[in-house]
């Protein structure tokens, strides 16, 4: 049965994981996301659904536990924040190379280095451009509410398994820590081992007499064969770009100016849009929900009517580069954002659009 | 009285001529051939087949699992 609750974004991730039938969580504490594992440990899903929850010795171990679990066809996840996600990049590269599905939640904090525990969106490049070594990408979902934190857990698992590729929920310290009303979905059954044998014949579940041995690996020493493996992975990214773009467009039909923002910045930009509309400026908001695949076509469809686009990010300007690539110079694109843990106000965003795009008029 | 007589079969093309079987053989049955296999290795062979008692030591230490061992008990007159 569905249930209405008031809870933190981080807690919603944990609740949603159990309810969607996840098989395992492996993690390491780091602010501002420690509530994910704390909630799971308090709920003890191993006694109810059978979900395994384990505190690992490091983020490096966590992501490699995901590799092992995913290789067995299980729905496994971890969560961390920026410095911890940096430590996971090796494992993510291996998982992308071995075509393993998993969910990694990044509740982003300010960097670089140890940075700050306050919210930021400065891990965009790391999330959408691969992050580790080699040609690969993650499927990246950006929630802008506690409800989406909950909903995107199952969505991320579905996409990850559909495309056999790691998926990331790219959140931030604000969404992770804030409390909102959230509707939690009814409990779903976990896959049985028999389900996995049937649904995921690639998984290492023990070699049956009637099949060849399954090998989960990212190594191929024959360069020609390895190029083929890379092509297979790239074809998935092309398909993702064609089929899986998700976004929200608000007041874009008549818009002359466009605010583009995801996650927390999208909430703030929505308020900024209201301020600017009240002043008579025709401003819309385009909120990418999938950061990879990025809503390129959807943005291109708007370029004819736009005088300017403002990318609003809690970073020094990362998504703005993808916007510029998408519009191919046809529209002026500027960036505004506070960073290093500072969250911008709607007024700051509204002022920035006027200053940078309308000449202050 | 009874005696064990044995023999070995070497998968010549798999043998890498490492000589560990030669060393492991307690009755000096095995030697490396003067000829080479397809990969250019001097492969192991029974240079002194009469002495083989089928003890399996050569096969146990063979890293490439290319030795098969047979053994038979015979009554000596």
């Amino acid at each position: 049965m569905s249930e209405l609750r008031l809870m933190k974004g981080n807690e919603a991730i944990a609740e949603a994981a159990i309810r969607c039938g996840a098989d395992g969580y492996f993690g390491y504490p780091i602010t501002p996301q420690s509530e994910v594992m704390e909630t799971l440990m308090a709920l003890k899903p191993w006694e109810t659904t059978g979900m395994v929850v384990l505190q690992a010795e490091s983020e490096v171990a966590s992501i490699n536990m995901l590799y092992g679990g995913a290789g067995c066809g299980k729905r496994v996840m971890t969560s961390s924040s920026s410095p911890g996600i940096s430590l996971m990049q090796e494992g993510l590269s291996y998982m992308a190379g071995a075509e393993l599905p998993c969910l990694v939640v990044n509740v982003v904090r300010g960097g670089p280095g140890l940075g700050t525990i306050q919210p930021a969106q400065s891990d965009y490049f790391q999330a959408v451009k691969g992050g580790g070594h080699g040609d690969y990408k993650l499927i990246v979902l950006a929630p802008s509410s506690v409800q989406e934190m909950a909903d995107f857990v199952e969505l991320a698992f579905d996409l990850a398994f559909k495309y056999r590729n790691p998926a990331m929920i790219l959140s931030d310290g604000m969404i992770g820590q804030m409390m909102e009303k959230v509707e939690l979905k009814p409990q779903k059954k976990r896959w049985t081992n028999e389900d996995i044998d049937e649904m995921h014949p690639w998984a290492t579940t023990g070699k049956k007499k009637d099949r060849e041995r399954n090998i989960i690996t990212s190594v191929e020493l024959d360069s020609e064969k390895h190029e083929e493996a890379n092509k297979r992975i790239q074809a998935k990214y092309k398909e993702l770009q064609e089929k899986e773009v998700r976004y929200e467009a608000i007041d874009t039909d008549d818009a002359e100016y466009l605010l583009m923002a995801y996650g927390s910045s999208a909430r703030i930009s929505l308020a900024a849009k209201e301020i600017l509309r009240a002043k008579g400026l025709k401003v819309g908001l385009l909120r990418p929900i999938t950061l990879f695949p990025f809503p390129v076509k959807q943005l291109q469809n708007l370029t004819g009517q736009l005088k300017g686009i403002l990318s609003v990010e809690m970073s020094s300007g990362q998504m703005v580069e993808d916007i510029r690539l998408a519009v191919e110079g046809k529209v002026r694109v500027e960036h505004f954002g506070r960073y290093g843990g500072v969250v911008h106000s709607p007024e700051e965003v509204a002022n920035a659009l006027e200053q940078k795009l309308t000449g202050g008029k | 009285m009874a005696k064990m007589i044995g023999t070995i079969e070497v998968d010549i093309e798999t043998c890498k001529g490492c000589s560990l079987c030669v060393e492991a053989c307690p009755t000096n049955v095995i030697a490396l051939a003067d000829e080479v296999n397809g990969k250019g290795y001097n492969y192991a062979y029974m240079a002194n087949p009469d002495a083989c008692n089928g003890c399996t030591n050569c096969a146990l230490v063979c890293p490439d699992s290319c030795i098969t061992v047979y053994r038979k008990k015979v009554e000596m007159v």
């Binding site: 490699n64 536990m65 590799y67 092992g68 023990g206 690996t217 | 023999t7 560990l20 096969a59 290319c66």
Partner: protein, 255 residues
């Protein structure tokens, strides 16, 4: 003589042949490499325990990265040093399966030290097979955490000097201290007798897993004749004279 050999060479007289759990792929290892012997022993145990369909191996980074080409079971290939982390999740998510890692000294005792120690300390119900040849074979013979004092490698070309290079690590003794380990042993495969003992040890480790006893660690002190720049026979002799005094063979812990 030909007639006598043909008389002996009959199916009913077969006393030792290649196990079916080994594939027909020719191993890429150098002539005389210990890996092949340990692969064979492991495969024989899997056949004898009849667990080919219930066993999942974790391959390391190192020469044995391609072990999955040789042993006919399901495999996962881990990032360098991370095999015990993979195995931890695999066993917890599939407690009905036999899970083992196969790791070299660089993998287990250098880059993967944390994963190894914590998996053992948690008492993960897995088997760890640890091939210790005191050198990085695959990358061309560099110094390993287990390279003994005075031993030459391409990154300690004049011999390991502890003041400069640090000390060799007795990882297996260290792991035996941890409450999570059930069976910790050090073996070798340089003679037929040693191969038999190693087989017994690995079999025991798998039996411990069956009984949910905790982590088993089987170290196999091995040769890397190419990396050591010796013939296989010389390498075995060198190992006996130089490695065994520092890495003595035998069971260290059996709970």
């Amino acid at each position: 003589m030909e007639a006598v050999i043909n008389e002996i060479k009959k199916p009913e007289n077969l006393v030792y042949g290649k196990t079916k759990v080994l594939t027909d792929n020719v191993m890429h290892y150098c002539p005389g490499c210990s890996h092949g012997v340990v692969h064979k022993v492991l495969s024989e145990i899997i056949e004898e325990m009849d667990i080919q369909d219930q066993t999942i191996g974790v391959a390391p980074v190192g020469c044995s990265v391609l072990i999955y080409n040789y042993i006919d079971i399901d495999w996962q290939e881990a990032a360098h040093g991370r095999a015990p982390a993979l195995a931890t999740a695999m066993k917890r998510l599939r407690p009905d399966r036999y899970i083992f890692t196969y790791q070299g000294d660089g993998d287990l005792a250098a880059i993967g030290t944390a994963e190894t120690i914590h998996a053992c300390n948690r008492g993960e119900n897995i088997v760890i097979i640890f091939i210790n040849n005191g050198i990085y074979g695959m990358t061309g013979g560099q110094m390993a955490p287990t390279t003994i004092e005075g031993m030459k490698s391409s990154t300690c070309p004049f011999g390991r000097e502890p003041v400069h290079d640090g000390n060799p690590l007795k990882m297996t003794e260290l792991l035996a201290q941890l409450p999570g380990t059930a069976y910790v042993t050090r073996q070798s495969v340089h003679t037929a007798g040693a191969v038999r003992k190693t087989k017994k040890a690995i079999r025991k480790a798998f039996e411990k897993q069956k009984e949910n006893k905790g982590t088993s660690v089987v170290e196999v002190v091995s040769t890397c004749n190419s990396g050591w720049k010796m013939t296989p026979v010389e390498a075995n002799k060198w190992m006996e004279e130089n490695m065994f005094p520092f890495y003595p063979l035998g069971d260290i812990k059996d709970v």
